[in-house]
């Protein structure tokens, strides 16, 4: 079975329908809302598989279906659907992971009064995310891009009665909005200079050769090619959504949302949308690499930002004590890896890592959710501990996820995808720095994950909540097991020996040979060694002598309190932004308000006062000079009026008499002087 491209809209439409149902069901319609959401997701998954099947039959082509949205002058603004392996793989991943997370939420959220609202928002998110994937137009992509932002906002603030959740939701929306404005400008620029926003349009699309040639041909006064500038602006949007430095601050706060939300949106799918966007726009982003004279290539910036983010995220993760925040910073770091891969020119490696990361990070988050659910919303790893015997399945799956994330060799998917990225970074000839940053992050990742597992699952329970924890229902552990299977197996789709996934994504011939496995043996050995070093250090510090009480000081804090404090406060980025951007904003607002009230308002008031003053002035002059003569005339008129009014006595007979007299006089005049 295949799904033709013109029916691709069904994939996002189904969850959207479920969202509509969820929005309209009353609070007690829990099963209807959840059931329709899961059913829609399952059907969407099947359809995505069909779509993937179709896309794999012709991996090198981009099947498109464009349609007019509305008229614009003699033309129309057109949107479109696109089906190629990138879209199809992403759709399958999103629907599959999403389906599992939906099922997990059935149990996780069952005590929440806003249960149906939750599934409504989740379905809305899924619809927007899938719409983003199937878009063949930057505009349609942007529309869905903003909608996933909305869904993320709603879900982070799902427990809106908590002020921290409400603030985190706002922070996420505003921070990503900053990046989105860059994306909007980039989109406008692209539209203006190429007259279209369709990616592929039979030779006229923005990602096709003719347009790219014209975009790289124009240069700005600063020496940048137009395509570079547009690429950088688009990357702003990607950086905002994917939590890249310096816009990464919202992602850890987003953990205020329910854990399934963190798993789906802030680990597996939405935050990867930035990576997807850069991968989708890769022809545009990389168009300028052919210009040797360019001062900077768009992808170079992407690579360095990605490397920096990978390193920073991993560093900060070492100092966090909230189980979800550790994972959040690890997500930041892994997204940095993906950006790094894009930047150094291997978008297939980035997507490979995106797919594997989606599985093992969703697994880790759901594992964390399982722990949190069992331990009655205790999230601090210092107060957990000793969960291994109590929650066997959760522990086993969490450990698989941890090893996949750390890049434990050969058996786990994270190893292969990370290897592909490091390999690409190694071959990048612009600068070795991203490679070094990536390698450092490998050590740190293994280190903080060891710490996390050791603190959470080993030793003794350090709080009543942890003591009373017990394994969750199969509705929650089932998805964990399935995701764990994926986290192991997915890596074998893209080993260097047989890079099937990469070949299918890029539409090239598949060359498989075992000798490729050790082509860059030195790097492979080095990274295996680094992973080992991270694991050993982590075990040395945290596993050898297990924490006894929750108040016990962290070994890292003992070794270097200053470093630990800096890491725990996330290197002070939030404070920095509050002191700069936040303050600048309030200052501008106060300034604008002041300008309005005092300067312009003052001017208007002054004009008003001036008007009143001149009015008074003119009244005075008029009264003292002009009116004097006028007064006299009117006084004489009044006097004569008074005189005549004496005739008016008010006695009707008097009047009658006068009338009668006048009548008689008139008759006499007629009779006596009658001339006829």
């Amino acid at each position: 079975m295949t799904l033709p491209v013109q029916y691709l809209w069904l994939i996002p439409a189904l969850p959207l329908l479920a969202a509509g149902i969820g929005a309209l069901t009353p609070r007690n319609g829990r099963n209807l809302a959840a059931g329709s959401a899961i059913l829609a997701m399952a059907v969407a998954f099947v359809l995505s598989c069909f779509a993937l099947n179709g896309a794999l039959q012709a991996p090198a082509t981009h099947a498109v279906y464009n349609f007019a949205w509305f008229d614009l002058g003699h033309d129309a603004l057109r949107l479109g659907l696109l089906l190629d392996p990138l879209t199809a793989f992403m759709c399958v991943m999103v629907t599959f992971v999403g389906l599992l997370i939906f099922i997990f939420s059935l149990d996780y959220m069952k005590e929440d009064p806003n249960y149906s609202r939750f599934f409504c928002f989740m379905s809305l998110f899924a619809a927007a995310m899938l719409g983003l994937l199937v878009a063949n137009s930057l505009l349609l992509l942007f529309i869905c891009w903003e909608l996933v932002g909305l869904a993320s906002y709603l879900l982070i603030g799902f427990w809106f009665h908590k002020p921290s959740a409400a603030a985190a939701a706002k922070k996420a929306f505003i921070t990503t909005r900053i990046g989105d404005l860059g994306l909007l400008l980039g989109m406008l620029w692209l539209y203006d200079s190429s007259g279209s926003l369709l990616f592929y349009d039979g030779g006229h699309g923005v990602l096709e050769a003719a347009n790219l040639a014209s975009l790289t041909g124009q240069t700005l006064s600063c020496g940048l090619a137009v395509s570079t500038a547009i690429g950088l602006l688009i990357f702003c949007g990607a950086a905002g959504k994917s939590g890249q430095f310096p816009l990464h601050v919202w992602l850890p706060d987003a953990m205020e949302g329910p854990t399934p939300v963190s798993a789906l949106i802030h680990a597996a799918t939405m935050v990867a949308a930035g990576v997807f966007l850069v991968a989708r726009a890769y022809p545009l982003m990389s168009a300028d690499t052919l210009i040797a004279t360019a001062p900077v290539h768009a992808l170079t910036v992407v690579a360095f930002i990605g490397a920096l983010t990978a390193l920073l995220g991993a560093l900060i993760a070492c100092g966090q004590t909230d189980i979800k925040r550790v994972l959040a910073f690890s997500t930041v770091s892994q997204l940095g890896y993906m950006m790094l891969a894009l930047g150094v020119g291997s978008w297939t490696a980035a997507i490979f890592h995106l797919l594997t990361h989606a599985f093992f990070k969703a697994l880790l988050f759901l594992g964390a959710g399982s722990v949190i659910h069992a331990a009655h919303h205790e999230q601090d790893i210092r107060s957990l501990g000793g969960l291994r015997p109590r929650m066997k399945i959760t522990f086993a799956t969490f450990a698989i996820g941890m090893m996949a994330l750390s890049g434990v060799p050969f058996l786990f998917s994270g190893f292969w995808s990370k290897e592909a990225i490091l390999h690409a970074a190694h071959e990048w000839n612009v600068s070795p720095l991203p490679l070094y940053a990536g390698l450092t992050a490998v050590v740190l990742t293994a280190f903080y994950m060891t710490r996390l597992v050791a603190e959470t699952f080993f030793g003794q329970a350090r709080s009543p909540a942890a003591e009373h924890a017990h394994e969750n229902h199969a509705v929650m552990t089932g998805p964990l097991v399935l995701l764990a299977v994926g986290a192991v197996l997915l890596g074998f789709l893209g080993t260097p020996a047989c890079p099937w996934l990469q070949a299918r994504l890029s539409g090239t011939e598949l060359h498989s040979s075992m000798s490729q496995l050790f082509a860059s043996g030195g790097l492979l050995l080095l990274s295996i060694g680094l992973v080992g070093a991270g694991l050993v250090t982590g075990w040395w510090l945290y596993g050898r002598k297990l924490r006894q009480t929750a108040e016990h000081r962290d070994p890292l804090a003992v070794a270097s309190p200053a470093v630990m404090a800096a890491l725990a406060s996330r290197l002070g980025f939030d404070e920095l932004y509050a002191a700069t951007v936040g303050r600048l904003n309030s200052l501008t607002a106060a300034l604008a308000n002041g300008l309005d009230r005092w300067v312009i308002g003052g001017l208007v008031n002054f004009l008003g006062q001036f008007g009143v003053f001149s009015g008074t002035l003119s009244r005075e002059t008029a009264e003292s000079t002009l009116n004097h003569g006028f007064d006299q005339v009117s006084a004489s008129i009044r006097g004569s009026g008074q005189r005549y009014s004496r005739a008016q006595t008010g006695e009707a007979h008097g009047y009658l008499r006068v009338i009668a007299m006048a009548f008689i006089v008139l008759v006499l005049l007629l009779v006596l002087g009658g001339s006829r």
């Binding site: 002058g73 607002a589 604008a592 308000n593 300008l595």
Partner: protein
């Protein structure tokens, strides 16, 4: 030509209703309200009739009615409707009944209130349909009278001052416009917009008058319109007038009245003075940007919710003007590809802002009624817990206002930015700051009022009544429809806009 006087009916049925209400001193308030609503809805019904018989492909005026009126002044009773007018008539048909419904609970002198609103509605419709300066100006000025009394008599504590400021300011602007048109009449001998536009196009206006005189006239008309819109920095009357007005009047003021000014820019200033507008465009772009950016940032500093939305109105209306000024700035070498989106975006933005801003004002009105007159940013908290339906609908209006894709606001703003970017890239880049600030303050509003723990006095909040839902629901539904299917409106005015872009000097 259609002999059925459709436009006359559209304009005068609300006035007829007002007249009828004036006679019914003894009638029960319920009857009064019902009758007023019925007359108010006539605009929507007749607007839909006009829509059904409208030929979008013909870019000229339709349903034209022209009769001689005052011979020695060469004034004619001249009305006509094109895509832009139809858009605004439909908007009036939507907002005016909603404003009446929002005022359903007003007990004090219901009859006078409904009467004034109907009167206001008829005047606004006259402005949108008149094609001769004389009747146009009559409607333009007559609209001030009911607005003044609505603000002064039913407004908040500072209403008296706000109402006077509003009227004096607007009349002050109008005086210059009247003088300007008197000068035009003295030179050319006609008040007819269509004839004047033809004269302006073929240079007849420039040969009859000297350059400086024409510039002075242009400035006069500009001032009159700029105050009404309002264009930064002539906007200081707006926040207090909108904030002090009763909810229904605020809805009408922001939804319809501000569009009268923008309409004037499109119908009068641009066709009649293309060369002068082109010369002044750089300055005017700066002013419109001032409105966009400062309006949004000033809104951020407000603690009174109504003032906040009022400032956001300045921001939103400035987008329309920004698009127009950018178009006129390109002058002789128009980048056609950018002109059409800019103008389409401006027209859509007019409609969308009318919907979303009036819905927001209604939401604040609900808050005000429930809390006994409080409308401070920090007076609430946790309203979403107490009144989820209200929070949901209000949130939709808010997201429409901040331009979330999928709702109506986005399409207009995207097209405006698309056009402005092609014509004046820096203006678009600076304008983005306004988008950012809008998101910031609206989310702050949402967070403080609706989220967080349930605040004092919020606990007993009742959710929306059926009546209130009926007030909001049509607008909210349209927000969805227009966000997904903007062709519904774009189809009405696209040929018109295309023709405009073809006639550019």
């Amino acid at each position: 030509m259609n002999s059925f006087p459709l436009l006359t009916l559209i304009i005068f049925i609300p006035w007829l209703g007002a007249l009828l209400l004036a006679q019914m001193s003894r009638a029960h308030p319920k009857i009064i309200r019902g009758l007023a609503l019925l007359f108010s809805l006539s605009t929507l019904a007749l607007g839909l009739v006009a829509w059904a018989n409208f030929t979008p492909a013909a870019a000229g005026y339709q349903f034209v009615e022209q009769h001689r009126w005052i011979s020695f002044l060469n004034v004619s009773y001249h009305f006509g409707l094109d895509g832009m007018s139809l858009l605004l008539v439909l908007l009036t048909g939507l907002v005016a009944p909603a404003a009446l419904l929002a005022s359903w609970k007003i007990e004090r002198d219901t009859r006078l209130f409904s009467l004034l609103l109907l009167f206001l509605q008829g005047s606004a419709l006259g402005v949108f349909l008149a094609l001769d300066f004389f009747p146009w100006f009559i409607f333009w000025e007559l609209s001030l009278v009911p607005a003044f009394f609505l603000i002064k008599l039913w407004g908040g504590p500072g209403a008296s001052r706000a109402a006077y400021q509003f009227v004096i300011y607007t009349i002050g602007g109008s005086v210059f416009m009247l003088l300007a048109f008197a000068a035009i009449f003295a030179a050319v001998g006609t008040f007819d917009f269509v004839e004047l536009a033809v004269l302006a196009q073929n240079g007849g206006l420039a040969t009859k008058m000297s350059g400086p005189a024409l510039t002075a006239i242009f400035l006069g008309v500009l001032l009159g319109l700029a105050v009404k819109v309002p264009l930064f920095p002539f906007h200081t009357w707006l926040p207090s007038a909108y904030a002090e007005a009763p909810t229904g009047a605020s809805m009408f003021l922001t939804g319809i009245m501000s569009k009268m000014g923008v309409y004037g820019f499109f119908r009068i200033l641009w066709p009649l003075f293309p060369a002068q507008l082109h010369a002044a465009a750089p300055v005017l772009i700066g002013l419109a940007l001032g409105g966009v950016v400062l309006g949004a940032f000033a809104a951020m500093a407000q603690t009174d919710l109504k003032r906040m939305v009022a400032y956001s109105s300045i921001n939103h209306v400035s987008y329309c003007l920004l698009a127009l000024f950018a178009v006129s700035s390109c002058g002789s070498e128009p980048a056609r590809d950018s002109v059409v989106p800019a103008l389409s975006g401006a027209l859509l933005q007019m409609f969308n802002h009318g919907l979303s801003a009036s819905a927001l004002f209604f939401g604040i009105g609900v808050l005000e009624v429930r809390s006994g007159g409080k409308r401070g940013l920090n007076d609430f908290g946790g309203v979403r817990t107490a009144a989820p339906v209200f929070a949901g609908l209000c949130g939709l209006a808010m997201f429409s206002s901040l331009g979330l894709p999928g709702l109506n606001g986005f399409v207009g703003e995207f097209l405006v930015f698309r056009g402005v970017f092609g014509l004046a890239p820096w203006a678009a880049a600076i304008g983005c700051l306004g988008l950012f600030a809008t998101a910031w303050f609206l989310l702050t509003f949402w967070q403080r009022v609706f989220h967080g723990p349930v605040g004092p006095g919020v606990a007993g909040f009742k959710d929306l009544s059926g009546l209130e839902i009926a007030t909001l629901a049509p607008g909210i539904a349209l927000m969805f429809v227009l966000g997904v299917w903007p062709q519904l409106l774009v189809g009405l005015f696209n040929p018109l806009v295309t023709a405009w872009s073809g006639h550019l000097p």
